[in-house]
């Protein structure tokens, strides 16, 4: 063993980094449930190792020319092999890095945020479970392993969304998330099965290679591609399965930051980019994805424009940005998509963690209340949040600017300019709703109410007494935020080296990426002006002194309602679930089960007994009647045989 370790330090590094969280989860659940301190230390210890190993791997392999693959058989059945191992290439290394770092930061942050929660140990166990599943998903060398951990990530998501299980809405949201992603996953699974049956091999490299070289039939690619894309729709909350993600905000805010914005929901996009060449081989599938991505992005942006819930805004924005990434990938912009994924992970985690501080402090999600209660007094968080919002809106020099530019560049390269227009419209709305939120907190309409609400008075007072001096827990939360803000600031400048790393060593970049040049500047101006326009709009309506803080949409109550109720998508799901599942098939089947099948059996028994009663009349008490029966039977028998 030792010699193997020495010869090839990659295997133990991966094994340690991705395996320890599982161990941590097991340890916490089995032994340290009643010791929150120890539980958190175990978990953070494991994730630190993961960060170290991710860094180590990145450093060691950043110059590697070929992907490094290692796999052992997890399961062998007939010709089917389920491998377990890793595939390290720039993409997975990047993603591994993102997951490990953000997990680490969130876990540190949670020390403060979750302090004192009765389920503290459980929280860290689930966090570890998530980290384990997510990292193994990222490094999966085959679609099957990816799918397995994909499902496990979903499980972690379910558990973490429903973390406050005593809250009905939380458990409801968890269920909704699981079932809705399950719908997509069934498609994904079917796609994988089709690939297995049609192609026989699920290795990611093999699939990409085969698709690129054209040795796979295009029908198979299209069909299985579309099915696999269902997985993306479910996991990355694309249209029409997007409504679970806003609901998922019922979970603790760090969870939202980690799972439901930065990493887990990006798994869909990650998977898309993982087998990008495969998808790219099917124009139909790409077109479909582009369409879905666009619709998602626009729909989610509209929803974000009308909500007052801090987290909901970022949730819609996540959906929208995910749609944006899908657009990028579907338009052929591999690098743009991945790059946006990376930057988005940073700034969206930042946004959520900042919101978390507010929520933790003011015990409310409503941005108006936070603003009135004096949200802007938390200087560092509001500053960081503004940084995040700027990045989200795509303004220089924040990371979002670079990635968004890249995507718009890709879209500009697409022959159909409608996608570019949609992208620009999206950028406008993004800036609008982001700064709507910022302005609500910064410049509350009636100024800051010095008197907090009666109900919260003592509570807040207690907190202020506790955190007035910016206590330890506060700093535990603020430091990760500041780190993330720093990353957001600088990440964009590594665009070219990142591009070199990712594309140069990995998958070829496809058309559209070269949309620089003369058009590029036009685009740049257009994008930035869109963002500025959005911010300006937000300023006029929410920021400037004496602004009504109503928004132009309130003038169109129908539209407002449409947006606020998520384009009635939830109603649609609810109603079809009630009508077709509960009211339809379930009740039909249940009635059938009770009446027809079981009733049939009971009826059979009843008739048997009734038969007994009937036949017993043959045995009357009258002797001669008995004799008659007997003689009659003999006569019948004789007659039968004589004839």
């Amino acid at each position: 063993m030792a010699s193997i370790f020495l010869q090839d330090p990659i295997l133990p590094a991966v094994a340690l980094g991705t395996g320890l969280p599982f161990l941590a989860m097991a340890l916490i659940l089995i032994f340290t449930r009643h010791n929150p301190r120890l539980s958190s230390r175990i978990s953070i210890g494991a994730i630190s190792v993961a960060v170290v190993s991710a860094v180590y791997l990145l450093v060691k392999l950043h110059a590697a020319t070929a992907p490094i693959q290692y796999q052992t058989a997890w399961l062998l059945s007939d010709t089917l092999t389920v491998p377990f191992g890793y595939l390290l290439d720039p993409l997975s290394l990047t993603m591994l890095m993102i997951v490990a770092c953000i997990s680490f930061l969130v876990q540190i942050y949670s020390l403060g945020y979750m302090a004192g929660d009765p389920g503290f140990s459980r929280y860290y166990a689930f966090q570890s479970l998530f980290a384990w599943a997510m990292m193994n998903m990222v490094i999966a060398p085959s679609m099957l392993q990816l799918f397995i951990f994909w499902e496990l990530v979903g499980l972690a998501s379910y558990l973490l969304i429903g973390f406050y299980y005593e809250k009905w809405s939380a458990s409801q949201a968890g269920k909704k998330a699981f079932v809705m992603t399950r719908v997509g996953d069934v498609g994904f699974f079917l796609g994988i099965i089709l690939l297995t049956l049609g192609f026989g091999n699920l290795g990611i490299i093999d699939i990409n290679e085969a698709a690129r070289s054209g040795s796979m039939s295009s029908l198979l690619i299209t069909v299985s591609g579309l099915l696999i894309f269902c997985g993306v729709i479910g996991k990355s909350a694309q249209f029409p399965l997007l409504t679970w993600l806003p609901d998922a905000m019922e979970g603790p805010t760090p969870v939202s930051a980690l799972l439901h914005s930065a990493t887990m929901v990006a798994a869909g996009v990650y998977m898309f980019s993982r087998i990008f060449p495969f998808f790219a081989a099917s124009p139909d599938a790409m077109a479909f994805a582009l369409f879905i991505g666009t619709v998602t992005m626009l729909l989610a942006s509209t929803m974000a424009m009308v909500t007052y819930d801090l987290k909901q805004v970022w949730a819609y924005s996540t959906v929208s940005q995910l749609g944006f990434m899908v657009m990028a990938l579907a338009a052929g912009g591999y690098f743009a998509g991945v790059f946006h994924l990376t930057t988005h992970a940073g700034f969206k985690a930042l946004l959520f963690l900042c919101s978390g501080i507010f929520i933790h402090h003011y015990h409310t999600n409503d941005m108006r209340v936070i603003g009135k209660s004096g949200g802007r007094r938390l200087v560092i968080p509001i500053a960081c949040m503004t940084v995040g919002a700027l990045a989200l809106s795509g303004l220089f020099p924040f990371s979002g600017f670079f990635s968004k530019e890249a995507i718009l560049g890709v879209l500009a390269g697409h022959p159909n300019k409608i996608w570019l227009a949609a992208g620009l419209l999206g950028a406008l709305m993004t800036a609008y709703y982001s700064f709507r939120l910022i302005f609500f907190i910064l410049f509350p309409a009636g100024g800051i109410e010095e008197k907090a609400g009666h109900a919260h008075h003592e509570d807040i007072h207690g907190h202020e007494a506790h955190e007035g001096d910016h206590g330890f827990t506060f700093w535990l939360m603020v430091i990760p935020v500041m780190i993330l803000a720093g990353i957001t600031l600088v990440l964009g400048f590594f665009q070219s080296s990142f591009e070199h790393f990712l594309v140069g060593a990995g998958v070829d970049a496809h058309a559209g990426e070269g949309g620089h040049g003369a058009g590029h500047y036009v685009l740049l101006v257009a994008a930035v002006s869109m963002a500025l326009l959005g911010i300006l709009g937000a300023w006029i309506e929410f920021g400037r002194k004496g602004a009504a803080q109503q928004g132009f949409l309130s003038k169109f109550p129908r539209v407002w309602e449409l947006f606020a109720r998520r384009w009635f998508m939830d109603d649609f799901f609810r109603r079809s679930l009630d009508r077709f599942v509960y009211g339809g098939l379930t009740s039909i089947f249940t009635r059938n089960d009770r009446r027809v099948i079981d009733g049939g059996i009971d009826g059979l028994c009843f008739f048997t007994i009734a038969g007994g009663r009937l036949f017993s009349f043959l045995q009357s008490g009258m002797l001669q009647y008995n004799l008659l029966v007997m003689i009659g039977a003999v006569g019948v028998i004789i007659l039968y045989f004589l004839i």
Partner: protein
């Protein structure tokens, strides 16, 4: 003179009857003495029968055939008789003054049945049947309970019995006319050639009536429920066990004689078997009186046994013999429980078994195993019997018949389970007195339990025996 050796078991029962006849002449008999004598004589009878089990030969101008088949059944009969006598210690159901007559009639009846299993000539068969029947006609009304049940039972049993025997002798007369012989062996040779004549068919069917009556097959069953219910528990036990043996043996022998591939006969037997099983099981479902329930179940079991017989193959006959043996053991187990629980000789309602598992665990266990055996559940002997019977039937290709038989077994399980439920689940409504189980009964139960399981799981030697017995049929 050496040939008389073959007749020793029968002679023994003649003398046994004589002893009790002498007892009955005395004004007052010590009951204990009578019982002990009976048990000892019964045991000796069993020993004698077993000792002469390997004899074979012909007697009385070939009218009497002693072979392994007959001797095996004689052992069953002796065993059954011994068990019944053994269970008669109190005999509260019978007037004490009649106890010696009771034992005498049992001895005579056993004698008649032993003769029946060996008979190879129509007149001998007729006389043996009548001998055993007359004893039973008298045994059945010999009961001391309130009400008029027992006379009613007696008259019904008598009337139906003599009608059946009249049918039989009328049928025999036709067989005699057609085949010009009363020797079964000759008949068997001639009968297949003339089977298409109406007289032969009528004769055969009518003659079989007598046997079917004894076996209580549908439609000759109607005495069974009434007799089971009306007769004293011990007498019912005797009828249900020993008497059934003789009837089964006779049917096997008679049908075996007719031999060959007589599709007509097979059709008749299949019909009777299906109807018997179905009728017996269906009507048993609604019974409340345990003995009456067992009567209907006996009708069904006659049907199962007939499945083995109607195969007309060696395997079929041997399976029927095995089934008969299994039936003897299981049925006796159940009746033992009835006798023990109904100490005063009353009739037992199913609900009166309530709480038996507390009142007497060993009896409850005996009852459960016996009933599961009757239902054909492994690992009891009843299952093995059914298995052999059905195997024989399927060897002949009667798939549908076997399926019907199994469905019937499932139906039967229902009412057996009701009885088991009473014994194990129900709490008695009014507290019944605890059941007195003395060492004797305990030993008996143990023996029966072991026998049921042992015969069920280790049937090899007994199957070999029954096969040898079936082979000894001509």
């Amino acid at each position: 003179m050496m040939k008389w050796v073959l007749f020793v078991p029968e002679l023994f029962y003649v003398s046994m009857a004589l002893v009790f006849f002498l007892f009955s002449l005395r004004k007052k008999v010590e009951q204990k003495l009578l019982y002990n004598t009976a048990v000892i004589l019964g045991a000796v009878g069993l020993v004698v029968t077993v000792a002469f089990a390997r004899q074979h030969g012909m007697l009385f101008f070939d009218a009497y055939r002693v072979d392994l088949f007959s001797q095996v059944f004689k052992v069953f009969l002796a065993l059954g008789t011994f068990w019944v006598i053994f269970a008669c210690s109190e005999l509260r159901g019978v007037n004490p003054r009649q106890h010696s007559e009771f034992f005498m009639l049992i001895s005579i009846c056993t004698l008649g049945m032993m003769m029946l299993v060996s008979s190879a000539e129509l007149l001998t068969i007729y006389i043996s049947i009548e001998l055993s029947s007359y004893a039973l006609y008298l045994l059945v009304p010999m009961r001391r309970i309130s009400g008029d049940l027992y006379v009613e039972t007696g008259i019904k049993y008598f009337m139906i019995g003599v009608t059946a025997s009249a049918f039989m002798i009328f049928g025999i007369s036709f067989i005699f006319g057609v085949t010009k012989s009363t020797y079964v062996a000759d008949i068997a040779r001639v009968l297949p050639t003339v089977i298409s004549e109406p007289a032969a068919i009528i004769g055969l069917i009518l003659a079989l009536c007598g046997f079917f009556f004894k076996q209580a097959l549908f439609p000759f069953h109607s005495w069974a429920p009434d007799v089971y219910q009306g007769a004293a528990n011990q007498v019912t036990t005797y009828i249900a066990t020993a008497s059934k043996m003789a009837a089964a043996a006779m049917v096997i022998r008679f049908v075996g004689f007719s031999g060959g591939e007589s599709s007509l006969l097979v059709q008749l037997l299949i019909t009777l078997s299906i109807v018997s099983m179905t009728f017996g099981n269906l009507v048993a479902i609604i019974q409340k009186d345990l003995k009456r329930l067992l009567a209907y179940s006996s009708i069904a079991h006659a049907g199962y046994m007939l499945i083995g017989i109607l195969c007309l193959s060696e395997r079929g006959f041997s399976s029927a013999v095995y089934y008969a043996m299994a039936y003897l053991v299981m049925n006796f187990a159940v009746f033992l429980v009835i006798i023990m629980v109904a100490e005063d000789g009353r009739n037992l309602q199913i609900k009166e078994l309530a709480g038996l598992h507390k009142r007497s665990p060993i009896l409850a266990l005996t009852l459960m195993l016996g009933l599961f055996g009757l239902a054909g559940i492994p690992p009891t002997v009843g299952f093995t019997g059914k298995f052999l019977v059905f195997a024989a039937a399927l060897e002949k290709g009667y798939l549908l018949l076997v399926i019907i038989g199994m469905i019937n077994a499932t139906i039967s399980l229902y009412y057996y389970l009701i009885v088991i439920k009473a014994a194990y689940l129900l709490e008695p409504v009014n507290p019944y007195p605890p059941v007195r189980v003395d060492g004797r009964a305990r030993a008996m139960s143990m023996v029966l339990i072991v026998a049921m399981v042992y015969l069920g799981l280790f049937p090899d030697r007994f199957v070999a025996l029954t096969e040898a017995a079936a082979r000894s049929l001509p």
